[in-house]
Symmetry: C2
Subunit: 145 residues, 2 copies
């Protein structure tokens, strides 16, 4: 069942807590109770609808490997009852000191009479670090943020 959240930021905290705790019920409580929710994790096909999204996270949480995830906010886009948060996630196996490159993440939240919930989560790779990245086509300066 969905929980009532008072802000998009509260949903986001619960989303990453659910990952930290491998808690499937907590994870599903952050998503909107709707069959059009969608989740796009790295190297996985698009999953949409609560049943498919639940199966996806069930698989992630059943991994023997526990992960630690930290996030860095890049930008919020807010329009009325919609909030879009763009972040960098750094994911690493618990206990590992190995430094992984960050990945981009985007979370789209919606407010309705059940409070704020997650509609869409996606990940996308970040480009290689400066010096490794090929120049932008057209030759203009690259803009790292």
């Amino acid at each position: 069942m969905s929980r009532i959240f008072d802000s998009a930021a509260d949903v986001e905290d619960a989303f990453y807590d659910a990952i930290d705790e491998s808690d499937l019920d907590k994870m599903m409580a952050v998503w909107a109770d709707s069959d059009d929710i969608a989740c796009l994790l790295p190297m996985q096909p698009l999953h949409n609808g609560r049943q498919a999204v639940r199966q996806l996270w069930k698989g992630v949480f059943e991994q023997a490997l526990k992960i630690d995830i930290s996030v860095n906010h890049l930008q919020w886009i807010e329009r009325g009852d919609i909030a879009i948060h763009l972040l960098e996630e750094v994911v690493r196996p618990v206990g590992s000191a190995q430094r992984q490159p960050p990945i981009y993440a985007g979370n789209v939240y919606h407010y309705d009479d059940t409070g704020w919930h997650l509609l869409l989560h996606f990940n996308s790779p970040t480009p290689p670090p400066a010096g490794v990245l090929p120049p932008l086509p057209g030759g203009q300066e690259r803009r790292n943020q």
Copy 2:
């Protein structure tokens, strides 16, 4: 300047037309006139704000290599004045018969008193084809869509 679009689908048509035509003014006319717009193209850092988004597409359109892009709709998520379209894009150099793997794309549109415009565009890789893809963690069946 922004154009007035009557639907998210009209914005989307103009967005892909702008890519087909390498038309920077047409491209910028689809984006909301706001400094929080954001664009995440493959292998590029996040660009946000009209100036950065314009620079990004200027670089793409100045490539000597002309590209052909075709799209396949996967899902629409609609909530009042917001529409989220999830698609597959197939991008190939014009004149090339080489088959590229599709990439995921997401477009978030917003309606206000200037009509519908684009707030966010992102791309994300698709997983390798079935048979190449490692099984989902947890061992459950993979769900291709």
